[in-house]
Symmetry: C2
Subunit: 160 residues, 2 copies
DNA sequence: CTTCATGCAAAAAGTTTGCATCCTC
DNA sequence: GAGGATGCAAACTTTTTGCATGAAG
């Protein structure tokens, strides 16, 4: 049922190893534990969720400071993506071997869906041309109401 | 040089009046002062900037709590838009009579540009159809490097 | 054994909340 | 006059920082 991401964890670890070595930074068990935790949770998690996971479910004990520190490294290494959806705090998502995609969030239940529209790439290029920009990346999030039965506020909406 | 937004302030005030009246909420001078401050600053400002402006430049003395409270009301009234660009905190922008647009931010100098691509509406609709969503709004931000002479990091980029 | 990373706790930054006072309706 | 709104400060949440200890190279 789940996407097979286990294999990618192995490769991500390798990438991280190389990344750290090249930058002359240390390969500590804590850093790999954070990487593992992120790749294990195939979701959009915040730093605290990872901290909790590491603290409770994994045997690794990593401080919050280290979680934040390592997440920054992972983002720099291209192994994680940082999102800041509307009103909330930072959330992270594994990035190795996962194609660039965007998000669709239900304003009722908070559920996050992913999608990909190739036309966005055109938009990105075109706007860059027009405004004289070297556009490196984009962040698109759609907000709306999903139609899941499980969605808490589902019934309330008038389906006009 | 500036866009003529003064006239819109008048109309926004009227909309706010009606909004408050209909909701049985009070029309206090503080609330209108915040509206005025937001519409006066034709930019993407945070709550604190508005607070400072009200405190120093305007004669109105409004507490931070009231600024936050009123900004929420303005967003609900459709008179303001709240943004949460990448790493930073909430920023607000006046919304009355300003067409839906998106943002392009220079990762070097932080400058915010605006643009509009009608194809986004199609994307929004299409993805909504596919995923069974009633998409209400979207948030798109492009990140890249601008080519302004004033951009601090301008020279460093290799123009490959 | 040197130096960088960790952990802890305190600080910082942004936002929310509780309560007495004030002012709109 | 009654009840919502304000201001102040304290609480809260998320993230950063400083410093002593600990471990990777």
């Amino acid at each position: 049922m789940e996407r097979p991401f286990v294999a990618h964890t192995e490769q991500a670890r390798e990438v991280f190893r190389t990344f750290l070595r090249e930058r002359g930074q240390r390969q500590t068990p804590e850093r790999f534990a954070v990487l593992e935790a992120l790749y294990h949770t195939g979701d959009h998690v915040d730093a605290d969720a990872l901290y909790q996971h590491l603290r409770d479910e994994a045997d690794a004990s990593v401080s919050r400071a280290t979680v934040y520190n390592t997440l920054d490294l992972l983002v720099e290494a291209g192994l994680a993506t940082r999102h800041q959806f509307d009103g909330s705090h930072a959330r992270y998502e594994r990035a190795y071997a996962y194609a660039q995609h965007d998000h669709l969030i239900c304003t009722d239940c908070g559920h996050i869906y992913e999608f990909c529209d190739p036309r966005l790439h055109d938009t990105q290029q075109m706007i860059g041309q027009i405004l004289g920009f070297a556009v490196a990346r984009h962040s698109l999030t759609l907000y709306g109401q999903c139609r899941r039965d499980a969605c808490p506020n589902r019934a309330e909406s008038d389906d006009a």
